[in-house]
Symmetry: C2
DNA sequence: AAAATAAATTAGATTACCCTAATTTTACTT
DNA sequence: AAGTAAAATTAGGGTAATCTAATTTATTTT
């Protein structure tokens, strides 16, 4: 139906809209898509022709409702495939992104729903990112960054904002896993290093950079 | 690594070599690929440049060893995904071809092997077609067409030569499934209609066309 | 508000894959 | 062996997605 490229643009626009506001700039898209600006302008014209986005010369893009539907469908598919790769095939959470990036483009409504059922209707992917339901509804998360907690507060580790293998690997090594209870024991004033307690057991020291990439539910 | 298109050409050439002999004609490929002859000539030149095929102007194509490896790898992947779709997701055997046709192009050695393991190292896909092993070795089948059996002979139904949904559906309706024992009770001389017995139970009458599309192991 | 900087667009090419029409090569008949 | 039919190739184009270089539009600074 849509080309892989189109679908990747839709996904990129969707994500940029989520994080940076309603209107997405050509340059932002170019960076995310790893292409040069004129390629983006070109593509946006084609996609506007297909009513996937509304595009005004030099004014940025927005997804149309149809564009949003497609984007969310792909994100749903991506996250379901990630669950498959980890839960069924035994991949580690830092290895699945690139494969899911390809599998996400193989989607008929039927396949996605059958996969969803097979996986037991998971609510989140292996990184804790929520999986949109069959109607394209993405549950609003009330998770906050660990770095916003004060000493003495605690929460359940439910997601990451940094998805790089390097970071995920670090968490593995540090023994920090999704579902862990994290309690802030101390915050070093000088450099905002956090001392946290995992599952009421051992204390661990993490940098501010790390605390700023962990999502917790209070 | 290789484009979907290239992979589809490789697969088509491989299959044509299997059934029609070592050298494949441009026109045959054009028909299978559903493109016009000049497109094939064009593509073959590019593929020859990449050492996937050996191509001599107006003399047809052959796969190189590398080309054969890639082709068999894709067939392996295709058939494994078909098993996944039927065994795990609950698709019927007449529904999986087109989806597998897309999934087959998502293949890293690692993914394919993990999938293989997850599925329990199946020997054949849902239509009975053998699955090449990780080294690209395809077990030689000794199955024969049911239409070559004489009255009184029998065998196990292990595969089809017609993979169309229409035919597969017909078999479902007629209650003929892979693994069934089929015994030839009678062959009508006039039109070669076969009367067969399934699993030593009920007798069924099938046309010569059908008998000619069923593979059995004597 | 004018000048300077940054962002976006147009212009003109390139590559992979496909097309139609015209031509050449191969194969088949007589 | 010549003539015809069939198969394959060349020639010339088209579209999607990309690029670089040049130009225009928008934003920021003075």
């Amino acid at each position: 139906m849509h080309s892989f490229t189109e679908e990747n643009y839709l996904k990129a626009i969707y994500k940029l809209q989520e994080t940076n506001g309603e209107v997405v700039a050509t340059s932002a898209l170019a960076q995310v898509m790893e292409v040069h600006a004129p390629s983006v302008t070109d593509m946006l014209k084609r996609m506007a022709g297909k009513k996937l986005v509304t595009y005004q010369k030099s004014k940025g893009v927005k997804l149309t409702e149809r564009g949003r539907q497609v984007a969310v469908g792909i994100i749903r598919n991506h996250r379901l495939w990630e669950v498959f790769l980890v839960d069924k095939l035994g991949y580690k959470w830092d290895e699945v992104h690139d494969l899911a990036e390809q599998l996400e483009h193989i989607h008929t409504e039927d396949l996605t729903n059958k996969l969803d059922k097979f996986l037991g209707f998971p609510k989140a992917d292996p990184h804790g990112d929520p999986i949109p339901d069959a109607n394209g509804v993405l549950p609003k998360s009330k998770a906050v960054l660990l770095s916003t907690l004060k000493v003495g507060e605690e929460g359940t580790f439910t997601g990451v904002t940094d998805h790089t293998p390097a970071f995920l690997n670090y968490l593995d090594k540090a023994g920090i896993s999704l579902g862990n209870n994290i309690k802030v024991k101390a915050i070093e004033e000088f450099d905002q290093t956090y001392t946290i307690q995992l599952n009421d057991e051992k204390d661990t020291v993490i940098s501010h950079k790390v605390a700023n990439s962990l999502l917790v539910n209070k």
